[in-house]
Structure formats: structure tokens, C-alpha cells
Amino acid sequence: MTKKYLVGVFDDEHTLVEAFEKVLDKGVKVEEVYTPYPIHEVLHRMKKKTRITHAAFFYGLFAAIGLLGFMYYAAVIDWPLNFGGKPFNTFPSFIVVSIVATILSITLLTLFTFSARAKVFPGKKADIIDIRATDDKFIIVLDKDELGTETNTVTELFKTNGASEVYEKESK
């Protein structure tokens, strides 16, 4: 099903942020914002949260426990080897491998999480609203059906706040 969008194009960060905040203050829901680089004001006010850092913490916790457990199993339970009378459970020297392999696990698992949650993965076709958003334009996209009668006032608001273009577009 295609949806109708109202697209506001801005030339720089400041005008985008200003217009974006004004639109939000009017109580209009912003569908999405496309920018060439991350803008913290936008990320903050889009009211979306990422729990990727929490996920990373738990990956690390479980990886560390798993690794230490595995080394204990291998060196103490499964096949204890006597290295010059040292204890089988040489915990302090297990820490080294645990740290590095935990970091590796966190990295790979967090990457996969990012890929799955942000939907950035090999073979994905880009749903481009405005092709200039990865180059030099800052784009606000609003759902036109949800806007309803507000369309004209928002268009006006975009234009008075420095939008270089405002247009409508149908897309998935």
C-alpha cells in the first residue's frame, strides 16, 4: 500500500532543527527525518529509544560467564593437565582470554543487533524518499493522511522556516 507523504527539504542543520521543533510543538507527528549525519536534537526529540547499549551489557555478561565456565570445564573437569604442579583452575590467567573474547562477542553480537534493529543488512534495497539526504540535504517526512487539514499550515511553516523545497510524494 502506498502512502502519501509531505516532504520538507532543508539546506542545513539549523533550519532543519528549528522547523522540526516547531512542527513538533504544534503536536504534529513526524514520520521520519533523513540527514547526512546524526543530529542529536532530532534523535532526542523523535522519542525513539535504543536499548542497544543495554543489550551489549548483557551480551558481555553472558559471554564472560560462558567463557570462564568453558575454561573451567576444559581445564579442570574434562581433561586436567598438570603444568609443573600449578593448580588446574588458574583463574587469574583465564581472565586474559575472557576479556578479549568477551569484547569480541560483544562486538559481533551488537553488530548483529544493530543490523537487525536498524534494518541495515546486506542485500537490503534502500527505500529512498529523497536521494539527496545522504549528500547535502536534511529532510523531514510527514504522513499526509495523518496531517489532514493541517497540511497547508505545516507547508507554510516549513517555508517560513527556511525550507528550500516542500513537496508531496507517494511511497511505500
Binding site: 539549523h14 546524526p38 532530532v42 535504543t50 569480541l104 534502500a126 539527496r132 549528500d135
Partner: protein, 460 residues
């Protein structure tokens, strides 16, 4: 807040965002320059020669090398540590400068990370072939095997090293790659060539720059940045334990982990400097890699050089202070005045003395002088590893075991082969990948422009 008046502009030439994309992507769209083909041919020739030497090593064995029972670790470990050290700069650059909020890193971190990935690949070849039977390298994985199962020794620094290097390689490669995804999207959306659109479009993974993507991207960078900082310190500390846990005089010192980490960052930054000076000259990137960028790297180098000098002197002092005659012999007789004294003094001069020239602004501002000094530092760091590995082994406790070590042509070819591999990798990077992180550069470009006045509402 970045103070442009004090630190100089991050990007000169007052560029718009569109111009930034164009300028950085120009080498990818332009015709391949002639020098590139010449350089690539030379690199591939060296690489091919290295392949032949590797073939000799694998088919005939380690006996084709100059290593012997006494000096069992020769150029291979020297080169391994050298390459790993160089490979440290990418992550150090991105992470430490990210933590310290140094905005100028944005122009250089991509090149540093690319260099890291290639250098670590070069490094990993040495221990792999030193195994003698490299086709059985998977024995070092702790997997349930049919030999017992006999597990690996988790107390061995050699195993730690294997874990650290493979983790470092995977992590730095993925860190580098995910930094490039938004830039690949920029190429996809700006290029006119259909082939490039398809290829870079595939590698862009469907990136569009939406706030959903950026939000998680920031989260990801935060996580990777935080944990990779630990990795930078831990990997080379682990490499140093290969030496430090042994009982060889000259190796068995507690200073080794920090000494190795600092040395690694030193050589890595020097190699970064070599590359960015080349990049700036060959691809005319003066607007992005400005004089103040080169200046900043030089200033870091002079600081690290002081640490290196302190470490060298500390080692010598500790040898005397310990009262151990073996330590005394190793440092005062074997290293400073022995048959490998050239390498010791080369190390000391190139790493601790020559970089002191960077105190002078005149030296820092002359690009060719900076380039030469950066090469000398790389050379000096190679001497350092040679000095550590070979002098300690060649003369240890038992004079009856003393031996000399001279590399054979196979070892030398192996090493030059990795230099060819590194050069070829860097050339491919220059040619096909945006050599400066476009989206990051754009995000800092606003610091060069006057900020709009904050709006204050007046009530009369």
C-alpha cells in the same frame, strides 16, 4: 566546544556539504592516475616475491630461515610485532581521540582504520607460517577434538595472543566497515555510473540516513568505541607477555606491557602520518588534512617519543638497579655495545631523539620533513623489536648456547612481501573507498562556520 580561532579550521576552503562529498569522492569517480598503476605493479611484484618465499617456507620448512635453536624467534616475530604495532593506530586513533573529543580525528580515522586492517592481516601471516605446518593452524582453536579431547593451554601467552589477534582483526574490520556504510550510501546516491551504483549500493546495506538508523548507529559506535579502547590496551599487552612471562634476561620485565602499548601507538601514529602526508599530496586533500592536522599528529608523536625515551632509559636503569649480572650483561654489554649495537642505537636515535625535532614549528610545518621523520620512526620501531627479540635470545645464561642470527633471503623476501601486500592494500583503499569519513567530516563542518545567534525573545 571546538574553538576554531585557537585550533585552526577543521576543513579549509569554506565548503558546502555537497562540495565535501564531491571532493572526497573525486578520486573514486576520476580516471585511475598513472602513478597508481606504477605503484600497484611494484607492490604486487613485491607481494608476488613474498608469495614465492612463503611457498619455499611451506614446502621446505622453517630450515630455510636463519633461525636456529638459540635464536628460535628471528625476523618473523620482529615483523609480527612490528605490524601489530602499526595496526594499533587505527583503533587508537578512532577510539582515544573519540573519547578525548578531538574533532580533527574525523579527517584521518578512516585511513588509520584501513591501515589497521591491512597491517593486522600482514602480521597474522608471520605466526601462521612460523607454525611450520600452517595447514594445522586450527589446532589452536579450543574445540572438542578427537585427540582426547586435548584442550589448549589457557595459561599460555601464545594462546592469548592468538585470541587477541583474531579478535582485534575482526573487531577493527567491522568497526571500519560500519563507519563506511553511510559513505557507501552517499556514493550510491551521488554517482552517475550504474555499475558503481549497484556495487556501492550493495555494500551500503540499504542505508538511507533516517533517524532510526542514526540513533542505533550512535549506540553502536558508543558500545564499540568503549570496548575497543580496552582492546587497544589489552592486545599489545598480551603481545608483550609473549616475552615478559619468559625467564630471558631483557624480556622478563614488568615495564613490558605499557612499554609495548605505547610503542605500538607510536609506530602506528608514525605510519598514519606517512599515509596522510601521501594522501594529502597525491590526492590533493589539503582542505581536509590541513596543516593543523599534520601538526596535531606531530605533537602527539613528540609526546609519545618522550615516553619511549623514558622507557628505554628505565629499562637500562632497572638492569643496573636489579643487581642481576645477566640483566646487566644483556643491557650494557649485549645491547649497548654488543654486535647488535647498531640496532640499539638506531632504535634510540630514531625513536627517542629524532622525533624531538617536532618541538619546532618549522619542522612540523614542512611536509617532506614530517614524511621522512615518520619513516624513520617506523624504521626505529622495527629496530626496537629486533633489539628486544634477537639480542636477548642470542646471548642468554649459558655461553655454550650462544649463537648469532642472520636472516636468509627467504625471510627477507617474506618481510618485503608483506610490505608489498600492505602497499597494495592501501592503494586499493585509496582507489575504491572514500579515504575520509564523509558523514563525520560533514558533522564537524559546522564548527568552521559562525554559529547563528541564540534567539532571545525580548519583552519591552
Amino acid at each position: 566546544m571546538y574553538k576554531t580561532e585557537i585550533r585552526g579550521k577543521l576543513i579549509s576552503g569554506d565548503k558546502s556539504l555537497g562540495q565535501i562529498s564531491q571532493d572526497i569522492l573525486r578520486p573514486i569517480d576520476a580516471k585511475t592516475p598513472r602513478w597508481w598503476y606504477a605503484a600497484m605493479t611494484m607492490s604486487l611484484a613485491l607481494f608476488g616475491w613474498g608469495l614465492y618465499c612463503k611457498y619455499i617456507t611451506v614446502s621446505q620448512g622453517i630450515g630455510t630461515w636463519g633461525v636456529n635453536n638459540t635464536v628460535a624467534w628471528g625476523w618473523e616475530i620482529v615483523n609480527f610485532v612490528w605490524w601489530i604495532g602499526i595496526g594499533h593506530a587505527g583503533t587508537a586513533f578512532s577510539i582515544f581521540l573519540l573519547i578525548l573529543r578531538q574533532k580533527w580525528r574525523t579527517a584521518i580515522n578512516r585511513a588509520a582504520e584501513a591501515m589497521t586492517v591491512v597491517a593486522v592481516l600482514c602480521a597474522s601471516l608471520f605466526p601462521l607460517l612460523h607454525m611450520g605446518r600452517p595447514w594445522l593452524f586450527f589446532f589452536i582453536f579450543p574445540y572438542p577434538n578427537t585427540r582426547g579431547p586435548l584442550w589448549v593451554n589457557f595459561n599460555s601467552p601464545l594462546f592469548w595472543d592468538f585470541v587477541a589477534i583474531s579478535a582485534y582483526m575482526l573487531i577493527s574490520a567491522s568497526f571500519w566497515y560500519f563507519g563506511m556504510v553511510p559513505d557507501f550510501a552517499t556514493i550510491r546516491d551521488t554517482t552517475k555510473s550504474k555499475i558503481k551504483k549497484a556495487i556501492y549500493g550493495f555494500f551500503a546495506f540499504g542505508w538511507v540516513g533516517s533517524s532510526k538508523e542514526w540513533l542505533r548507529y550512535e549506540g553502536l559506535s558508543f558500545v564499540l568505541g568503549g570496548i575497543a579502547a580496552v582492546l587497544v590496551v589489552s592486545v599489545h599487552s598480551i603481545v608483550s607477555t609473549d616475552f615478559a612471562v619468559s625467564v630471558e634476561p631483557g624480556w622478563h620485565t614488568t615495564i613490558f606491557p605499557p612499554y609495548f602499548v605505547v610503542g605500538a601507538i607510536f609506530s602506528g601514529f608514525a605510519m598514519v602520518l606517512t599515509l596522510v602526508t601521501l594522501m594529502r599530496k597525491l590526492y590533493k586533500m589539503e582542505d581536509f588534512i590541513t596543516d593543523s592536522h599534520v601538526d596535531a599528529v606531530c605533537r602527539i608523536l613528540v609526546f609519545i617519543s618522550l615516553i619511549m625515551g623514558t622507557a628505554y632509559i628505565t629499562e637500562i636503569f632497572m638492569a643496573w638497579y636489579s643487581g642481576s649480572e645477566y640483566e646487566m650483561y644483556t643491557f650494557f654489554k649485549n645491547r649497548i655495545t654488543g654486535e647488535y649495537a647498531l640496532q640499539f642505537w638506531g632504535m634510540f636515535t630514531f625513536n627517542a631523539i629524532i622525533p624531538q625535532l617536532f618541538w619546532f614549528k618549522k619542522v612540523r610545518s614542512k611536509l617532506w620533513v614530517v614524511f621522512i621523520i615518520s619513516l624513520l620512526i617506523n624504521w626505529g620501531m622495527w629496530f626496537e623489536r629486533f633489539n628486544i627479540v634477537v639480542t636477548s635470545l642470542s646471548r642468554d645464561y649459558l655461553p655454550a648456547n650462544w649463537a648469532e642470527y642472520h636472516p636468509t633471503w627467504v625471510e627477507i623476501g617474506f618481510f618485503t612481501g608483506t610490505i608489498g601486500m600492505f602497499a597494495a592494500g592501501v592503494l586499493l583503499f585509496f582507489r575504491y573507498i572514500p579515504m575520509i569519513a564523509i558523514s563525520e567530516i560533514k558533522s564537524v563542518s559546522k564548527y568552521d562556520k559562525p554559529m547563528p545567534e541564540p534567539k532571545i525573545e525580548h519583552h519591552d
